[in-house]
């Protein structure tokens, strides 16, 4: 437990120190999406009876929480491991690997939540009308945990910094576009849809949208998220017990 709190405290110090950088950079991408897609297509496009902006915002929340939570852990932790070597200080400390991992993953998730709150605020200014309830927040938090645990795993696995750029290029960025964040998956061929449905970002985009538009929560969504969370965390713990 002391390990968990120590890790959170350290992340909090960094957050405080970089508050403005973090805050402004969390706004850039979502603002661009809202301006280009939201205003550009805006109310002129109507997807199955829904204003496009209301359709779009849950997708933006999903992809931004993914990006933020992933990068909040992956980049600094890989630097701590490969360059600053500060990871060693945690590995020699009398804390369990579990408490270390939990601290990092929860801290990454909090950064995702912070970015999401900014986006939701902005999108309401842009005129989105959404139902933000406990279920929405829960799915969103799960998405944050999924991707900060993935960030934890990737940071411990990569061999060099360019590997991280590659992972972002080939895994994270494609998910932004194919996981139903901007467009409905209804017209995607069925086989493709099944594949896309089990990618880690899809349950967030589909689940968040369903809830935000006042629909039922699709139960497969949190199930897939929890499966990924357990997989990434378990694998991350395994790697962290051996990493040098």
């Amino acid at each position: 437990m002391s390990g968990f709190l120590a890790v959170l405290w350290r992340e909090y110090l960094f957050f405080k120190r970089r508050f403005w950088t973090i805050t402004t950079s969390s706004m850039v991408a979502p603002l661009l999406y809202l301006i280009t897609f939201g205003w550009g297509l805006g109310r002129s496009v109507n997807l199955s009876g829904v204003d496009y902006i209301n359709f779009l915002v849950p997708g933006i929340v999903a992809l931004s929480t993914m990006n933020t939570s992933f990068n909040a852990i992956a980049t600094p932790l890989s630097i701590a491991r490969l360059y600053d070597k500060t990871l060693e200080e945690y590995m020699v400390a009398p804390i369990t690997i579990l408490s270390f991992a939990a601290g990092k993953i929860v801290a990454g998730a909090m950064r995702g939540i912070y970015a999401a709150l900014i986006i939701i605020t902005i999108s309401f200014i842009f005129g989105a009308r959404l139902e933000i309830n406990v279920l929405f927040l829960a799915l969103m938090f799960l998405n944050c945990l999924v991707f900060s645990s993935l960030g934890f795993l990737v940071a411990l696995k990569i061999k060099s910094h360019p590997d991280m750029a590659r992972f972002n290029n080939f895994v994270i960025t494609p998910m932004i576009f194919i996981c139903g964040t901007f467009f409905s998956l209804d017209r995607v061929p069925e086989i493709m849809r099944h594949v896309i449905n089990v990618l880690p970002l899809t349950p967030a985009s589909q689940g968040l949208r369903a809830v935000a538009l006042g629909g039922e929560i699709p139960l497969w969504a949190p199930a897939v998220q929890i499966a990924y969370l357990l997989l990434f965390t378990g694998w991350g713990l395994y790697v962290c017990n051996r990493v040098e």
């Binding site: 350290r10 600053d84 990871l87 945690y90 020699v92 400390a93 009398p94 804390i95 369990t96 690997i97």
Partner: protein, 278 residues
């Protein structure tokens, strides 16, 4: 206090430690002496659970070394070869973080920090970002950090490399003071004079093997406490003898370019490393 039993570490084809066995007793100041690449860092990292050995057993304070064994970890203070302080945090923040990681209550931690900053003469740098400190200051901060939780064992991996002569002496004094207070110390170095000046026991490490270990006198007796040095054919050759009389007798028949003197750690080191590398 520290027991390694047949410890081997391989990285692919490189053997960093070759079934090494070593026992270090409580209160000892053990110096691991060896050239670059001998395996000193690997050994220190294995003792502190940063590296998992390929095979062999390691016990520290009776506890098996394992990354999740918090009991043994709280007994160890590590000063790594390469600085691993948080560069963006201040001196005090680095120490506070350490205090939290080791479960030291806040009040006690604040008191310790004050004491240690004083001990290492870093008090006026308390709120400086670590990235802006000089190399010598970072070293001292690393030592201060390792002492925050009052470890029973202090592992120092080449603590004075890259320091100027006067900073080195200051670090030596720091370490000597700690030994006097009863902490078990393991120090690695490739400076012979450092091992000679500080350690009560010395182990000679080369290519992952422990060639010899014991007190300085024991080591000298093992190879011969008196040495005859001959410069012959543009080469210095050393001959070891068990006393002055024998050495003089031998020297009298050798001819020119001869010095007879007490053997030093350096001689033993040269002899051993040359011998065993054939």
């Amino acid at each position: 206090m520290i027991a390694l039993d047949q410890v081997t570490k391989r990285y692919g084809d490189t053997v960093s430690l070759d079934s090494l066995s070593l026992h270090i007793k409580e209160g000892e100041f053990f110096g691991l002496l060896g050239p670059n690449g001998a395996g000193k860092t690997t050994l220190i990292r294995i003792i502190s659970a940063l590296t998992v050995p390929t095979s062999g057993r390691v016990l520290v304070a009776g506890e098996p070394v394992n990354r999740n064994n918090t009991k043994f970890k709280s007994q160890i203070g590590l000063v790594p070869q390469h600085n691993n302080l948080e560069p963006e945090l201040t001196v005090v923040e680095n120490l506070q973080l350490h205090g939290m990681l080791y479960g030291i209550p806040k009040k006690e931690s604040a008191g310790r920090i004050k004491e240690l900053l004083d001990f290492t003469r870093l008090t006026d740098k308390a709120d400086t970002q670590v990235g802006k400190l000089s190399g010598g200051m970072k070293r001292k901060l690393l030592i201060a950090r390792a002492l925050m939780h009052k470890p029973a064992i202090l592992l120092l991996d080449e603590p004075t490399v890259g320091l100027d002569v006067s900073s080195r002496r200051k670090v030596w004094d720091l370490i000597k003071g700690l030994h006097k207070r009863g902490i078990t110390i393991v120090l690695t170095t490739h400076y012979l004079e450092e091992a000679e000046a500080l350690c009560t026991k010395i182990g000679l490490l080369k290519k992952g093997r422990l060639l010899m270990s014991g007190s300085l006198d024991e080591l000298k007796n093992m190879v011969g406490p008196v040495v005859v040095e001959q410069f012959y054919n543009d080469k210095t050759v050393l001959y070891f003898y068990k006393d002055q009389k024998e050495a003089l007798k031998a020297a009298s028949s050798m001819g020119e370019g001869i010095t007879v003197r007490q053997s030093r750690l350096e001689d033993i080191f040269v002899k051993l490393t040359e011998e065993k590398s054939e």
